[in-house]
């Protein structure tokens, strides 16, 4: 038996097929992964993401700590409630984890980190926090429910009360607000509008049922993966890990080079890599032939060398197979993917593949 979130019994009751996910017993789907995927793109669905870890950082020098800890610049967070996506790097520039940082107040920042990396993250953050006198508190008392889809906001108001409307209606993406015991953020992992709601673990089942009664469908990890892949969002452990840098992972946009004096961990290694030229990059692939692209399939790009698929699946929205792949930096155009011993043609494309329910493919 793995670790279980406060919603485990509710998932089982709602017909979930449970699988092991990084040591957690989590719902893969509640019947049909495809239908769940479409539900989020067309209406609204909810995900139990309580396996992820909320870490509160407190102290007078927390901002200073984060300037050093994160590759993105926490000084972009100028007003309470702002959120920032960032990588946390080791000195070699390898990605320890990707996370979201929320600015609560000048003495309190909140991080949300991945489930599978929580132990090493906490050890690393704890080590870095000590010289800054910052307190590192994992919030095991919190659960997290993501409600995503074009109808997500309206369904949340219908389920949890119109009182939330005024506080959250005008929130732009990557903002958050505390309402009573709820911490409601306009972040997500699907490419749709919606909320990620952090709440007391003891309120999770009640809240989940209220949302369900309002017509929000429960969505499993299977659809979560195809939704995030269509949205062109990296998955830690698949698309990047400690052996690659953000520059090789399609995440340079999250590295804040300015101001040059900000000495974040991994900076020297990234600058060196950038000066020498980044040999590999992450690209989107669309399969032109029949079949399905899968993680770890090898590919050959004409004249410039070999690559590997880091995340491949079937895109329910596009009705064809798509992938993220790490390829030689110069690769463009078409490539050949080894699918179970046969070569199939795929096209290198810009991603995201899908945003707000619409194809982004040209």
């Amino acid at each position: 038996m793995g670790q279980r979130t406060p919603l485990y019994d509710t998932h089982v009751e709602m017909g979930a097929k449970i699988v092991d996910f990084g040591g957690w017993d989590m719902p893969l789907h509640y019947g049909s992964q495809l239908e769940e995927h479409h539900r989020v793109r067309r209406a609204a669905g909810m995900f139990d993401v309580s396996h992820m870890t909320v870490v509160d950082l407190k102290g007078d020098r927390v901002r200073e700590l984060l300037r050093r800890l994160l590759a993105n610049n926490v000084d972009k967070l100028t007003t309470p409630g702002r959120a920032l996506y960032s990588c946390m790097l080791n000195p070699a520039g390898g990605v320890i984890d990707d996370l979201i940082a929320y600015y609560r107040d000048e003495r309190w920042f909140r991080l949300v980190v991945n489930a599978g990396t929580t132990d090493k993250d906490l050890a690393w953050i704890g080590r870095q926090a000590a010289p800054f006198g910052a307190e590192v508190a994992p919030r095991r008392d919190l659960a997290m429910i993501a409600v995503q889809g074009p109808q997500a906001r309206e369904k949340v108001y219908a389920a949890l009360g119109e009182g939330l409307r005024e506080a959250t209606e005008r929130l732009k993406p990557f903002h958050a607000v505390a309402v009573g015991e709820l911490f409601i953020a306009t972040t997500g992992y699907t490419g749709e509008d919606g909320f990620e709601i952090m709440l007391p673990a003891k309120a999770a089942v009640f809240t989940w049922r209220m949302l369900h009664d309002a017509g929000v469908a429960p969505i499993g990890l299977g659809a979560r993966d195809t939704l995030r892949l269509e949205a062109g969002m990296n998955l830690y452990g698949a698309d990047m890990d400690e052996t690659v840098t953000p520059l090789e992972s399609g995440l340079e946009w999250t590295v804040a080079w300015n101001p040059p004096a900000r000495d974040f961990i991994g900076r020297a290694a990234l600058e060196k890599q950038k000066t020498q030229g980044v040999a590999r990059r992450l690209v989107g692939l669309v399969l032109e032939d029949k079949g399905v692209l899968r993680n770890h399939q090898k590919l050959v790009c004409d004249d410039v060398g070999a690559g590997e698929i880091t995340s491949g699946s079937f895109s329910p929205t596009l009705n064809k197979s798509i992938a993220l792949a790490r390829v030689p930096a110069k690769a463009t155009g078409a490539c050949q993917v080894d699918i179970r011993g046969k070569f199939a043609t795929a096209r290198i494309v810009d991603y995201p593949f899908v945003r707000h329910g619409q194809s982004c493919l040209k």
């Binding site: 893969l28 992964q33 495809l34 299977g222 079949g291 399905v292 899968r294 079937f314 179970r340």
Partner: protein
């Protein structure tokens, strides 16, 4: 609990075979197999006229989760394929023993078909796999 119709024969690799009046068999994958694989998104069927040995890979199904080979339950020659299932793979999830059939095979020997598992034998195999 997955459905295991009593009138069909089954291979250990989770294909079902339905004996037809003309001596051929219709082949698909079991309800248990489609449940394990999840939503089907791609089916690669054999060519009509192709001959296979018993247990030889003759088709591929890809679900949202994984690719999986489909094996010839007995030795024989493909006489018909279900083009509708290639166009709409979800038929294999919705009706694995009906609209979700994959191909028809003319067995080399009728005795091979009767040697396949019956519903009871297949149910025991499925139950054993769950432990």
């Amino acid at each position: 609990m997955s459905k295991i119709p009593a009138e069909l024969k089954y291979a250990k690799t989770h294909e079902w075979a339905k004996p037809m009046p003309d001596g051929s068999i219709t082949v698909g994958i079991s309800d248990h197999a489609q449940e394990l694989l999840g939503d089907m998104v791609f089916v690669e069927l054999p060519q009509v006229g192709a001959e296979f040995a018993a247990g030889q890979e003759c088709a591929v199904v890809e679900s949202v989760k994984a690719a999986s080979d489909v094996y010839a339950p007995v030795a024989g020659k493909v006489v018909e394929v279900n083009a509708a299932v290639a166009a709409a793979p979800e038929k294999m999830n919705k009706d694995p023993y009906g609209d979700g059939w994959m191909f028809r095979l003319q067995p080399k020997s009728a005795g091979d078909v009767s040697a396949l598992l019956d519903a009871k034998g297949y149910a025991a195999l499925v139950a054993a796999e769950k432990h």
